[in-house]
């Protein structure tokens, strides 16, 4: 692990901007997750985290380690890729469970399933 001092100033600024963007989006996503009124609306908030939240932190990490270690460090891309590919699975599971429950309970806000 090398010291932050090794980082040129332009790189430090870009890395911090990306980090702040990613951390900010993650925070907003968490706030939304806590405060939004309905389940289906709360489903949208974590997408902030799993898209550009993770993306921006990933870019900051790639840039920081590529410069300080003086070689291209790209394995962060795999984290981003796997997060992106796997989140829809959990999202859909949760969403369909909620839909099923609401339909069984006869919640009028939820569209009924088309007759088979």
């Amino acid at each position: 692990m090398q010291a932050v001092v090794d980082l040129p100033i332009w790189a430090a600024i870009i890395v911090s901007l990306f980090l702040l963007l990613g951390a900010g989006l993650t925070l907003v996503g968490a706030i939304g997750f806590l405060r939004l009124p309905s389940f289906y609306e709360r489903l949208h908030a974590p997408a902030l985290v799993t898209s550009w939240g993770v993306g921006a932190i990933m870019l900051a990490s790639i840039l920081y380690f590529s410069i300080t270690q003086q070689r291209l460090v790209l394995h962060e891309i795999l984290i981003g890729l796997f997060v992106t590919v796997t989140t829809p699975v959990t999202f859909m599971l949760l969403a369909r469970a909620a839909l099923h429950r609401d339909r069984v309970e006869g919640n009028p806000d939820v569209p009924a399933k088309a007759p088979d």
């Binding site: 939304g32 289906y40 949208h44 997408a47 898209s51 795999l78 839909l99």
Partner: protein
């Protein structure tokens, strides 16, 4: 020898990214990729038919920009709290694509987009129920999804 060349290729790349670039890891990664290809072949999954793969980078770029915009819009709406006159709602979108891989990619796109959530796909009547965070114009949402994402996907997985 290699039943799934694209998969094996990306496995080698992944191996090299996780370890180090070098001849030793290249050989080791190639071996892993070869056995993984055989293992997958024994499961006999459908082979995705990539017709126009060169259209993928353009679609990826469009998606990255759109997701960025959607992030900002949703973040703004969350921070505004309940003061805004936001109305979220369900939307039934008729789809034309049938290819499972293309459908999976469309689901990933719409889920990664903070403004929309993919809820339920019905292969019987080929519709998908999505939930939109800020539903202003239903027809516009449907045409955006169909033209910006579905049409290029159908072209790629023809």
């Amino acid at each position: 020898m290699l039943p799934y060349p694209i998969l094996s290729f990306f496995l080698v790349i992944m191996w090299l990214l996780l370890n180090e670039f070098g001849l030793g890891h290249l050989v080791l990664g190639a071996l892993v990729a070869m056995f993984a290809g055989w293992a997958l072949a024994s499961l006999r999954p459908d082979k995705p038919k990539l017709k126009k793969w060169y259209l993928l980078p353009k679609l990826l770029w469009v998606i990255l920009i759109d997701i960025g915009r959607s992030n900002l819009a949703v973040a703004r709406l969350i921070l505004q709290g309940t003061r805004g006159s936001r109305r979220s709602g369900f939307l039934l979108v008729p789809l034309d694509i049938e290819d499972p891989t293309a459908l999976a990619i469309l689901a990933i796109i719409l889920t990664s987009m903070p403004g929309s959530a993919w809820l339920e796909y019905d292969s019987g009547d080929k519709t998908v129920l999505i939930h939109v965070f800020d539903l202003i114009d239903e027809a516009e949402w449907i045409s955006t999804i169909k033209q910006r994402y579905e049409a290029p996907l159908m072209e790629i997985f023809a």
